[in-house]
């Protein structure tokens, strides 16, 4: 059974239909790459998968539960098992790196402060951020902010992770670091949806791709499938040809 099942998803902004009929699914442990031109609404789909945007039609089924019918309170259990990695980290700038990571643990676990501290230090060391514990987000580089954002999102060990352009604007070192972390999570069996324009990273981490265009999924499959079929849409997108 699919862990994420999107059926006939519709979304409009200011009376303009952005998504007419988006349908795709993600299997357990799979990483799905959601690709398409700028402004096609990839992030909107990603935000809808965790209830940050309300769907105007269709269904979004997460582990068998349709989340389009849920209110904010009812979405809380979904949000503890689905993590969202924001494009710019979205760290709380009034809190230190330590407190940013402690936030979800204090909210959703019964861990003692000592256990929380141990978990945070372990996580920060894994992300190569052991020295940044006491720093504020404003004192971190863009790459470090994204890595802390990823560390915060996965610290309560979610079963699904949604990545919104996690490598956008990063140098090769930080891109590689994020890529390694995504692959490590994948090895642990975490299901994920990866929105990006960074195709080398997408090819490295994604098992399958969904190509969005004109408000629908134009093509879906592995890189091999999409290169061979679907009018060569994926190669056209990757090579920056017209139409995207």
């Amino acid at each position: 059974m699919a862990v994420i099942d999107v059926k006939g998803f519709k979304k409009a902004y200011d009376g303009r239909l952005i998504h007419k009929d988006v349908t795709f699914s993600v299997e357990k442990g799979e990483c799905l790459g959601l690709v398409g031109g700028s402004g096609v609404g990839k992030s909107v789909i990603l935000r809808s998968l965790i209830g940050l945007e309300q769907a105007d039609g269709g269904q979004i089924i997460i582990e068998g539960q349709d989340i389009t019918k849920l209110n904010e309170q009812e979405l809380v259990p979904i949000r503890t098992k689905v993590a969202y990695v924001f494009q710019n980290g979205a760290l709380f700038d009034s809190l230190s790196v330590y407190d940013n990571l402690a936030y979800p643990l204090r909210e959703h676990t019964e861990l003692s402060e000592q256990e929380i501290g141990e978990r945070i230090r372990e996580q920060l060391n894994e992300f190569g951020l052991g020295h940044a514990e006491k720093l504020r987000p404003g004192q971190l580089s863009g790459g470090m902010q994204k890595r802390v954002g990823l560390a915060r999102s996965i610290i309560i060990r979610p079963r699904i992770v949604l990545y919104d352009e996690p490598t956008a604007g990063l140098d090769p070192y930080n891109t590689l670091k994020i890529r390694e972390m995504v692959l490590r999570l994948k090895q642990k069996g975490v299901t994920s949806v990866f929105v990006t324009h960074d195709m080398p990273t997408a090819f490295a981490v994604c098992d399958r791709f969904c190509l969005l265009m004109d408000g629908v999924v134009k093509a879906t499959g592995t890189v091999k499938d999409l290169t061979a079929h679907s009018d060569g849409l994926l190669p056209r997108f990757v090579n920056g040809l017209e139409g995207f």
């Binding site: 809380v76 949000r79 503890t80 924001f86 979205a90 936030y103 979800p104 909210e107 959703h108």
Partner: protein
């Protein structure tokens, strides 16, 4: 004109929804006393100097204006009465709340607006927590607790300002001044002014939160929302002041 009416209806609708969300989550544990204390410090202690300057200068200017005017008719002995009564019934609460609307309203809107455009509000939701509980409730409660306390101090300081001018410039006896103040102000007078402050406090904090959470766009939108929030808060205080004064006047007649 049509746009202004639409925006006003949208504002009222938004505030109503915000109030409903606050009541829905206010009594649901866990309670964030730490966040409340932090906001009480931000809103209360940090507004102290501004409230002090505003109220002392109001009292001093009032005493000076009335003193110089009434001296011509030999009426400067009425200065303690007029100054204390006008400060306690009207100028203390209304004028101080106008200044606080600018300081607190702008502070809340710009902070929440920045959090909105940098997706921190979305992050609070995505991490399975509520921005109403974490952000809005502590600010509204802190304003509700702290602003009346600030107004109580403002009333006292305003009357002290009048005393300073009365003694130094109008050559009034300090003991006479204090006796006149206590003889003039009744509890009814005090509460006619003071009871407006919780209403002003909630209006200021709610308006600030509403505009901050509804920022759409970038940093320019944060600036625009902040300006709008201050203007609307001030209008709410002024219009609210009229209706509350009228309401308390009816009560006073009835009592």
């Amino acid at each position: 004109m049509k746009n202004s009416i639409t925006n006003f209806i949208r504002l009222l609708g938004g505030l109503t929804i915000l109030v409903r969300q606050i009541f829905r989550e206010l009594f649901v544990p866990p309670y964030n006393f730490g966040l409340l204390m932090d906001q009480m410090y931000q809103i209360g202690i940090r507004s102290g100097p501004l409230v002090f300057v505003t109220s002392i200068s109001t009292g001093m200017v009032m005493a000076l204006q009335f003193g110089l005017g009434l001296e011509k008719f030999g009426g400067k002995l009425y200065v303690p009465k007029i100054v204390s009564l006008s400060i306690v019934r009207e100028l203390g609460p209304a004028f101080t709340c106008l200044v606080l609307a600018a300081r607190i309203g702008a502070g809340i809107t710009s902070e929440l607006g920045s959090m909105t455009v940098t997706q921190q509000i979305d992050a609070i939701r995505a991490l399975g927590t509520s921005p109403i509980k974490k952000i809005v409730i502590p600010r509204v409660l802190a304003a509700l607790i702290v602003i009346p306390i600030l107004i109580a101090f403002a009333n006292m300081i305003g009357i002290m300002g009048g005393l300073i001018v009365g003694v130094n410039d109008l050559r009034l006896d300090p003991l006479f001044y204090v006796q006149k103040v206590f003889a003039t102000i009744t509890l009814k007078d005090y509460f006619a002014g003071f009871c407006k402050t919780p209403v002003f406090a909630v209006l200021i904090a709610l308006t600030g939160c509403y505009y901050g959470l509804n920022v759409k766009g970038g940093t320019q939108a944060v600036g625009n929302a902040t300006t709008r929030s201050v203007v609307v808060s001030c209008i709410f205080v002024l219009i609210g002041d009229y209706f509350l004064t009228k309401l308390f006047w009816v009560f006073e007649q009835w009592l």
